[in-house]
Point group: C2
Chain length 287, copies 2
DNA sequence: ACCTGAACACCGTTCAAGT
DNA sequence: ACCTGAACACCGTTCAAGT
């Protein structure tokens, strides 16, 4: 009852449910072709001759999507709006993409392609190059920067599986650093979310705050002060919130919101790295 | 240009922008009354006599909102749908609430009220009762449980400031444990997101996954296996993803997805606590 | 004081039709 | 093979009107 079961939750997974029969003309994009990074061009390249009238293809659409999301945010994004940007009707898009969600997933993976392409494992020996500590810091900083640069990424990460080729490349890089810490595989599996879910949350609120400031056209410090002023703290709690008070003091002594945030981020990474080191020391020796 | 500036981003902040003039009849809810936990009842109590025809009030609406969000998720929630549930037209709701977003914020804070009410600071001396370690674990576990119980909370937390009375009570509890660790105030400000943004991210993906399973009517293990089967790993990456492989192995040896997740969560908290302890040991003695 | 109906300006998506 | 127009079933919100 109620529409055929559809378990697929990602463009990157094989189509399932109603297997085989298919439901229409425009489906089946990228089944099995997705191993190379240029997966998005699948349908377009299949007909490489005679250029589409409007010059549309999956890649151009995905690119325009990311650009529009950067410019106006997730809330204002719509298929009609995007189509307008591309000089085409909304329905043309559905030739290249099954649903709006699929398109968002494509855009999501696209920006993960902005990560510098780290050397794969098995390159130089395990004891040359940067320590796992500094490489972990780098990865965290890059992830944070991505989330701040593209505030729309964060809500999408919450909704989709994110197993596109670029996201996988990043996940692999994460797993490789963790493997170098000396933690047991089981402990690595706890350490990964410990570090990168933290970064996710941190980058999310940071990006969101910056976006908000941009929308109202205020500086971050200005906006922070204003929000504090408007907010009437319940008096019985006032004493508990030492941190907020302290931030205000630090701002008064000339430090910016951004500087304070950077310092907090660094502290948190110090904490995480120290935590990993402690767990390693605690574990029975292994190889 | 383009609509009067409106900086307010939370029901809990004083109305601002267009200050004084106001734009209509039904605005101005809760200006300054919000210090007590029962702030939502403000308008209703003001007219305590003669019971509204439909029995509507802000509290009942907020309650119904949370219930509907639990039942059908954020995506399917709408003012019209909620109104239907309350046996009323959508527009009636706008008498009690300015916008849909305000209502969502009210519901958000409401579920933060589910946290057990922790004793305020200044109760028993600092060295009786549970250690900061076990209290931190408890807070983390409760937060995780909240996010899993109400998967719609997570996306809302990303969008709103969340400075309602109940959320503040929780934040205060967090600050109090951190104050007991021995960290400097500056380090505390890094440690808080380190721990609780991790929990946020962890609880988010867990809650989301469970919701997905419920929607398609599958067990978690079943769904996990299915997703893995549908996913064709890029061959050059297969060797990197040891963890995923290992999870599959552990599932084959009888462990459930849930058990593995619990173990990972515990490991991450071990890591975080060890990290805090290391930072404390590293800092110059204080107090 | 509280509630409604009609209307506005949007959505994502389907479907039959055009070229 | 690619694109469109019209239509369906929705949104949040406003506004004038009812009781």
């Amino acid at each position: 009852m109620a529409k055929a079961a559809r378990t697929r939750i990602s463009v990157w997974l094989e189509n399932s449910g109603t297997a085989g029969t298919g439901t229409g003309s425009g489906t089946g994009a990228g089944s099995g072709t997705g191993t190379s990074t240029g997966a998005g061009a699948a349908r377009a390249t299949r007909t490489r001759r005679g250029e589409q009238p409007s010059g549309l293809d999956r890649d151009r659409i995905t690119e325009a999507t990311a650009k529009l999301l950067d410019a106006e945010g997730l809330a204002k994004f719509s298929m009609r709006r995007l189509a307008g940007e591309l000089g085409v009707t909304a329905m043309s898009l559905y030739w290249y993409v099954d649903t709006k969600d699929d398109l968002l997933e494509l855009a999501l993976d696209r920006v993960f392609g902005e990560f510098p392409d780290r050397a794969a494992a098995g390159g130089p020996g395990p004891d040359v190059g940067p320590s796992w500590q500094t490489e972990l810091r780098e990865l965290a900083a890059e992830y944070r920067a991505l989330l701040v640069r593209h505030p729309w990424v964060s809500p999408l990460l919450g909704n989709f599986l994110n197993v596109g080729p670029h996201a996988l490349r990043f996940a692999a890089a994460v797993q490789r650093v963790m493997a170098r810490t000396g933690l047991s595989p089981a402990a690595q599996r706890g350490a990964i979310p410990s570090v990168f879910q933290f970064v996710y949350g941190f980058g999310t609120v940071e990006g969101h705050f910056r976006q908000r400031c941009a929308e109202v056209g205020m500086e971050q410090d200005e906006y922070f002060r204003k929000a504090m002023a408007e907010f009437t703290m319940p008096p019985e709690m006032a004493e508990t919130f030492q941190h907020t008070e302290r931030v205000m003091e630090e701002m008064d002594s000339g430090e910016t919101v951004e500087q304070i945030r950077d310092r907090d981020f660094r502290t948190a990474l110090d904490l995480q790295i120290a935590g990993i080191e402690a767990l390693v020391a605690r574990e029975p020796d292994r190889g």
